[in-house]
C-alpha cells in the first residue's frame, strides 16, 4: 500500500537520471501544493497558538508555549527564561513577578535566592505546545452545537431543494423542444450577471413580507434556484441519448416517471457536482444570513464566528480554531461525493 503510493508519487520520466521535465513537473507541482495547501496548513497550525503567540512578530511556524516549572515556596508553576547575566554567563531562571522593566526572578534549583533582572537581558524558553483551549473553550461557552445544527439544517435543506428544483428546470429545458427554449435558457444564464448585493434589498423586502425573517427558511429559499445549477444540469441532460427518453415514452412512462426514474439516475454525476457546490455555497454563506438572521439562536456557524470579531478586539485564536471546525464537514462531504464526479456517463446501455 505505502510502497504503491511511493512509486506513484515518485514516478518520473527519466529512467536513471531525472529528465528535465521531471524537475519541472515536481517544482511546478510543489508550487501548486504550496499555493493550495499552504494557507490551510497555516490555518490549522495557527489555530493551536495562544492569543499572545498569534500577535507575535515575526510569527513562529509551530505553535509554541512557554515552559513553566514548579518552584518550592510558590503555589503556581513559574515561567522559565534564559537570562544573560552581567558577567556574560547564561542561566535558566523562573520569573516571580515583573515590575516595569525589572523582573524579580528565582533559580528553580535554589528558591531562596531572589534576583532583580532587567527584562531586556532575558529570553522566554519555549517548547512545542498545542493550545487545545482554543477549541474546548468556545465549544463549551459559545453556542457551537446550536449554530452547527442551524448550519446543517440550512445546508442540507437548501441542497435538497436546490437539486430538486434545478433538475426540474433543467429537465424542462433539455428534454422538451419548444419555441423560446434557448431564449429562456439565455435569460436564466443572464441572471448570473446580477450580483447579490443589487437584489439584496428587494429580496429582503419579499422575505420580510413572507414573514421569514429570523427563520431558517428565509435563508434556504431565496437562493435555492441557481442559474449555475440549471445550466450545469441542463448541459449534462442534453447528453442523455434521446432514444432513452423515447423508449421510456413507449414504455408508457409518465413525464414524471421519465424525470424521476430515467433522467435523474443518469444525471447522477452532474447532480453530485451541483450538490458539492451547493454544500460549499451554503455552508460558507455569510452576507445573506447576516441580513436575515438577527437572533442568536438562529445563527449559522459563519454568523457565530463573526461574534468573535468585536469592534475593539478580535479573538483570532477562537476564530481560527472554529474555522478549522467549520471546514471539516465540507471536506468530508467533498471526499464522499467526489467519486461520483469521476463516474462517467452511464452510456454503456447504448451503442
Amino acid at each position: 500500500m505505502i510502497s504503491n503510493a511511493m512509486t506513484f508519487l515518485l514516478r518520473r520520466r527519466g529512467r536513471r537520471k531525472l529528465h528535465w521535465t521531471d524537475i519541472f513537473t515536481y517544482v511546478y507541482l510543489f508550487l501548486g501544493v504550496m499555493l493550495m495547501f499552504g494557507p490551510v496548513v497555516w490555518l490549522v497550525l495557527s489555530s493551536f497558538k495562544t492569543q499572545a503567540a498569534l500577535q507575535e512578530f515575526p510569527p513562529t511556524f509551530l505553535p509554541l508555549g512557554q515552559i513553566e516549572v514548579p518552584v518550592d515556596g510558590f503555589d503556581k508553576p513559574l515561567p522559565l527564561f534564559s537570562v544573560t547575566m552581567e558577567d556574560g554567563t547564561v542561566r535558566e531562571l523562573a520569573q516571580i513577578r515583573r515590575v516595569g522593566i525589572v523582573a524579580q526572578m528565582v533559580d528553580p534549583a535554589n528558591p531562596q535566592e531572589k534576583l532583580q533582572i532587567p527584562i531586556a537581558t532575558r529570553e522566554p524558553l519555549r517548547e512545542f505546545r498545542l493550545a487545545i483551549e482554543n477549541y474546548t473553550k468556545p465549544l463549551q461557552q459559545f453556542n457551537f452545537f446550536r449554530f452547527l445544527r442551524n448550519s446543517v439544517v440550512v445546508t442540507v435543506g437548501a441542497t435538497i431543494i436546490t437539486l430538486l428544483i434545478n433538475s426540474m428546470a433543467a429537465f424542462g429545458l433539455s428534454i422538451y423542444e419548444f419555441r423560446g427554449r434557448n431564449m429562456t435558457m439565455g435569460f436564466i444564464i443572464g441572471t448570473l450577471m446580477i450580483p447579490i448585493t443589487v437584489i439584496l434589498v428587494p429580496v429582503f423586502l419579499v422575505v420580510t413580507k413572507l414573514g421569514m425573517v429570523n427563520s431558517l427558511w428565509g435563508v434556504i429559499l431565496p437562493g435555492a434556484a441557481t442559474p449555475t445549477g440549471v445550466f450545469l444540469l441542463r448541459q449534462y441532460m442534453l447528453t442523455i441519448p434521446r432514444d432513452l427518453i423515447d423508449a421510456a415514452r413507449m414504455d408508457k412512462a409518465s413525464e414524471w416517471t421519465i424525470y424521476w426514474r430515467v433522467v435523474m439516475p443518469l444525471a447522477m454525476p452532474a447532480l453530485a457536482v451541483l450538490a458539492i457546490f451547493s454544500v460549499m455555497w451554503r455552508w460558507n454563506e455569510f452576507l445573506w444570513p447576516l441580513v436575515i438572521l438577527t437572533r442568536n439562536e438562529v445563527y449559522t456557524l459563519q454568523l457565530g464566528l463573526n461574534a468573535f470579531q468585536g469592534e475593539l478586539q478580535v479573538q483570532w485564536h477562537f476564530i481560527l480554531a472554529m474555522t478549522v471546525v467549520t471546514l471539516l464537514p465540507v471536506t468530508i462531504v467533498f471526499a464522499f461525493l467526489q467519486r461520483f464526479i469521476t463516474t462517467g456517463i452511464a452510456s454503456s446501455g447504448m451503442k
Binding site: D246, R249, M250, A346, S348, G349, K351
Partner: protein, 366 residues
C-alpha cells in the same frame, strides 16, 4: 394485435418535406418491412406511427381509430430502437419490467411475464445484470424482451440489427422470424438492408426520398419492380441497368443497342422511346455458345464462393456487368466470355424510371 392504416401521412420539418403523403395499410398479424436507403424517411415514418413524431398532415389509424393526437405512451405500441436504448442504470429484469410497472400491473403478473419473455429469449441467466455487462446480441434480445412483455398491439423495430456483426445479424434475423411465427404480432420493421427485408417480410414497403415507391411481397418486388429504383434496390448484387438507345422495327418489335451490339426484342411499346433502360439481374445472364451469344465480355475479376461464382465483366460501351453463376467456374482475368441475356427476365424502364415492360419473348439476334 391490431391493424394499422396510414392515410396520406406527410411530414415536414419547417420548410423541408420529409414524407410526401404515404398511404399504407397493414393487416393484423402481418410482418411489414420498410426498406430504403438511409435518409429516405423510413425511420420518420415509423416514429410517426409510434407517436414520437407528430404528423404534419394525414391520418394514422390503429384499429380504425385516428390516433394522430394520442401520445406515444397511450397508443399501446412497443418499439425496439437501433441503439437498443436500454436503461443503463437498471438490471435486465428492471428494464423489462419498467413498462409494466408504469401500467401499475400486479407484481406477480410482472414477474410471470418477464420470466416468460426471458425464457423465450434465453435471458434467464442474465436477469440481474446491468446492460453494460451484456454482449451486443444479448442487449438486442433484452430490447426485444422489453417489447414482448408489454404484449403490444403492434411491434415497431427501428433497424434493430444494424449494430450487430454479420454473423450475429443472420442468427438474430432467424430468431426474429421464429419469434414472429411464435407470438404472431403485427410487426413493422425498418431497415436499409434489403436482405433483411427479403428474408423477414410478409410484405415490403420500399421508401425513397420520402415517397413509397412500391409495396408488395418480397418476390413480387424482386420479379416485378415497378420502377428503376426498386429494381436497383431490391436484390443483391444489384440488377444490371444499362442506358440504351432504342428504335422501333415493326409494330411489335424494337431494336435495343447495348454497347456495340443490337438486340431485337418482341415488345409492343407505344410510343417507342428513343432511350430506355434495360435491366437484367446477375443470375439472368447466361454463358452461351459463340453463335447464340448477345455479346462477348471480358472478365475483369471474379469471386469464387464455392457454391456460386460472381463475375464482374467489362463490355465496350457499358458499365461493369455483374454475373451470378451457380457452381465453380474457373476463369482468368481478361478471358473472353460470350453472354446471353434471358429474354423472359428482361426489364425495360422508360426515361421517367417507370417500368415499360417485363419479360420479353426471344427472337434471336438481329
Amino acid at each position: 394485435m391490431a391493424d394499422l392504416d396510414l392515410e396520406n401521412v406527410a411530414k415536414s420539418f419547417g420548410d423541408v418535406k420529409v414524407i410526401y403523403g404515404a398511404d399504407l395499410s397493414i393487416a393484423h398479424g402481418e410482418f411489414v418491412v420498410l426498406v430504403g436507403p438511409s435518409g429516405c424517411g423510413k425511420s420518420t415514418l415509423l416514429r410517426m406511427i409510434a407517436g414520437l413524431e407528430p404528423v404534419t398532415s394525414g391520418n394514422v389509424k390503429i384499429d380504425g381509430e385516428i390516433v394522430n393526437n394520442v401520445p406515444a405512451s397511450d397508443r399501446g405500441l412497443a418499439m425496439v430502437f437501433q441503439s437498443y436504448a436500454l436503461y443503463p442504470h437498471m438490471s435486465v429484469y428492471k428494464n423489462m419490467a419498467f413498462g409494466l410497472e408504469n401500467t401499475r400491473m400486479d407484481r406477480a403478473e410482472i414477474r410471470r411475464r418477464v420470466t416468460h419473455a426471458a425464457e423465450l429469449l434465453r435471458l434467464t441467466d442474465y436477469l440481474h445484470r446491468r446492460p453494460k455487462a451484456l454482449s451486443g446480441g444479448q442487449r438486442q434480445r433484452v430490447a426485444i424482451g422489453r417489447a414482448i412483455v408489454r404484449d403490444p398491439k403492434i411491434f415497431l423495430f427501428d433497424e434493430p440489427l444494424s449494430n450487430l456483426d454479420a454473423e450475429l445479424r443472420v442468427s438474430m434475423r432467424k430468431e426474429l422470424a421464429a419469434l414472429h411465427a411464435d407470438i404472431g404480432g403485427t410487426m413493422i420493421y425498418v431497415t436499409h438492408d434489403q436482405v433483411e427485408a427479403m428474408t423477414l417480410a410478409d410484405r415490403i414497403v420500399v421508401v425513397n426520398d420520402g415517397r413509397i415507391e412500391q409495396i408488395g411481397t418480397p418476390l413480387d418486388l424482386y420479379n416485378h419492380p415497378i420502377n428503376q429504383f426498386v429494381a436497383g434496390f431490391i436484390g443483391s448484387p444489384r440488377m444490371n441497368l444499362w442506358d440504351c438507345p432504342a428504335a422501333a422495327v415493326g409494330p411489335s418489335q424494337i431494336n435495343v443497342q447495348i454497347g456495340g451490339n443490337t438486340l431485337l426484342l418482341d415488345v409492343t411499346l407505344d410510343p417507342v422511346p428513343n432511350n430506355l433502360v434495360l435491366g437484367v439481374r446477375p443470375e439472368h445472364i447466361e454463358v452461351a455458345d459463340e453463335g447464340d451469344a448477345d455479346f462477348t465480355a471480358t472478365v475483369a475479376f471474379s469471386e469464387q464462393l464455392g457454391g456460386e461464382t460472381y463475375f464482374y465483366c467489362d463490355v465496350e460501351g457499358l458499365p461493369q456487368i455483374t454475373i451470378h453463376l451457380m457452381g465453380q467456374r474457373p476463369s482468368t482475368r481478361g478471358q473472353a466470355m460470350p453472354l446471353r441475356l434471358r429474354r423472359d427476365q428482361l426489364h425495360l424502364f422508360g426515361a421517367d424510371g417507370l417500368v415499360l415492360h417485363q419479360g420479353t419473348a426471344t427472337r434471336g439476334k438481329a
